[in-house]
Symmetry: C2
């Protein structure tokens, strides 16, 4: 259904990008710019943390002010969070600066920041960086842009795919950054998506909200929620399809599925790059009373430090999984639960345990592990992705500021 | 008000205890017994995990069947959790075995287990261990008993204190075990408390519930909740005070405060012995809308892996504290928050930051750190205790079963 393609955030028609080093960080790329050659519908999902960084507050206002957008500018190395009035002024300066440089209306620019909390943005480097980025904007700039939004990430996260709507082939592409402070309920990370499909802003918002719910809200690295996280989507319509206005319009379901597919791909990359992670764990809860209950159970498993350290140790400690579900708040019968690792049944109904430690060890020694939990209660199911908890996570986070 | 004394779980009149090695664990003490020479009122608080171990289910039934108790028997090394019908039969066998050996009514025995989940209790060692423990019961057995309930604990946790009621001096003593799987909302650990005060069972239940709420439910090591946790209290009345029946009875407030004081002491020991912990962190949230909001905020801080790793790294990363409060679900104004480490103000209103990194480093280099968060919103306050998150935590938990 989806054809993977190259080009990340600039794979869709009419988008250019750049990533430059401006000096917020010492020597790495730290400023990204994405631009559309024509006004694009915009939609976003933001962190649910009550403490919201200046760029989050600014973008919320921009999305109320304007229905069309021309550019996104992002810096890494400084989150511009908990910076009060001055932080707000700095975020607006970034918006105005970018608009001036690109010669587009102020209300058509979105802004984003990630990095240390509580320090003021060094505006001089940011402003000169925006000029350099604008000069560098190109269809080939996607990887630099994806690199410029990284913090503790160890690899660039980008993906793109093509899909046929009834009246046009459209492209959806994007980039994301993790990797610590990843928890469900948004409040997780940065992701930027572009598409050349033509979609009304409200419908685009519906698509991204639903897709984020089943992708970025289904991953967990350490259970923490950041102040800055957002998913921004721009749709510039250059593919030439008839503008989608309603969920029942032909092609909308396909486009929505494509956006979800892309966000799931980016989400999994974030988990794979979880701070200190050595294993990628897919949790499939089925047989739940409903999808919501399945998500609750899966999230409780994914957020448990004890479960995550057991996976790190390649220890088939199914008891911790069952105990984690017990804390999730959902109603279920523990004696009915069955747990499978990969293709090795570990726990069967009525606490029957009859597995070979060797077979379990073989599954658990893999870099990617599938955990299937069947609650035998109903038909609700959900996927969730997490990683193991290693000593390296502690090392990375113990001295982040310094 | 309280006079600390020696003797732990046997400090109160009429109690004896023993700790023996029976063979559930390889070479360590693994079976504890506590007995009262006369029937004692009993009360308990149990884990809120939906997955409840057999001894938890058995004790709940015992507390419904009987108003008086003579003994508690506890094994470590095996949790008898997720063991189905056979686990229930084994727990009842422990109860019956202990009752037979001590020649007390079956319904007057409480039972407890801690250790690995999902394996059947080896009943032969447990039975012979109960006989050996019964033979060893003595007023001096408190430390052996406290040692026999340990799992990954690195030191024995016991405390006792004396307090004057209007008509008698009473003693309250106890022992506890941590140290992983410690999270608020009970569901945390094992603690056993004895007192020679005379208290009606219902009132004793009220006292222990309220005390547990402000002690064991205010600590966090890793945010996980166990299937086995309980606080059991026995009150045998041998101090000779007039039996307390109502919260307004003279002396009740004092006794309740003594129980709370004891539970707080034991709770702090559990945090200090948190798996891999190198620092003890007291979180004081004040200026909240109410006590509940203060507890929510404090718990969110205490459960954040990012906050805990920052303390491990002695990094004054106040942004993570603010971000954690933002995820707690309480309503507050981030710009009004003030954060102090020890006597060093770190964050002032309107995100004003003006502290010496050296002064912060000095406070953070200590083994015990006080964190004060003022929400400047109301008069609600709460204390909460946690520890840092170290690489050692991961090492301990990655291979617990093996």
């Amino acid at each position: 259904m989806f054809e993977e393609c190259e080009g990340g955030i600039t794979a869709a028609k009419g988008f250019t990008a750049a990533g430059v080093h401006c000096g917020v960080k010492k020597a790495k790329l730290d400023l990204a710019m994405v631009a559309s050659s024509t006004p694009a519908a915009g939609a976003a999902v933001f962190t649910t943390n009550l403490v919201q960084a200046a760029p989050v507050l600014v973008d919320k206002m921009q999305l109320q002010r304007s229905r069309a957008f021309r550019a996104i500018v992002v810096n890494s190395g400084n989150a511009n969070a908990c910076t009060g009035d001055r932080g707000m002024r700095d975020a607006w300066s970034m918006v105005r600066g970018c608009a001036g440089i690109l010669n587009v209306p102020e209300e058509q620019v979105l802004v984003s920041s990630t990095g240390v909390i509580g320090q003021f943005l060094p505006m001089e480097p940011v402003c000169s960086g925006m000029r350099a980025a604008a000069d560098a904007l190109a269809p080939g700039g996607h990887s630099d842009a994806a690199a410029a939004i990284m913090t503790t990430d160890t690899f660039v996260k980008e993906a793109a795919l093509r899909v046929s709507l009834p009246d046009a082939v459209v492209t959806v592409g994007g980039m994301a950054k993790g990797s610590g402070m990843i928890a469900p309920n948004m409040a997780t990370m940065l992701a930027f998506v572009t598409t050349d499909a033509s979609v009304a802003p409200d419908l685009l918002h519906e698509a991204v909200t639903s897709a984020a719910d089943r992708s970025f809200n289904r991953i967990s690295v350490d259970g923490d929620m950041s102040t800055n996280d957002m998913v921004l989507v721009l749709a510039n319509g250059q593919a030439g399809n008839a503008t989608l206005h309603s969920p029942s319009d032909p092609g909308y379901a396909t486009l929505a599925a494509a956006i979800e597919h892309l966000l799931v791909r980016l989400s999994k990359m974030i988990v794979m790059d979880g701070e200190g992670a050595t294993k990628f764990i897919e949790i499939r809860v089925k047989g739940a009373a409903g999808e919501e209950a399945a998500v609750c159970a899966a999230r409780a498993i994914a957020n448990s430090n004890l479960v995550k350290t057991a996976f790190h140790g390649e220890d088939a400690n199914w008891g911790r999984i069952l105990a984690a579900i017990g804390t999730s708040g959902i109603a279920f019968d523990p004696a009915s639960v069955e747990i499978t690792f990969g293709d090795v049944p570990i726990l069967r109904k009525n606490y029957a345990i009859d597995f070979s430690e060797d077979a379990a060890k073989t599954v658990l020694s893999r870099r990617e592990i599938e955990v299937i939990v069947d609650l035998h209660q109903g038909t609700g199911s959900a996927l969730f992705w997490t990683c193991d908890l290693s000593k390296e996570y502690v090392a990375i986070n113990a001295n982040y500021r310094t």
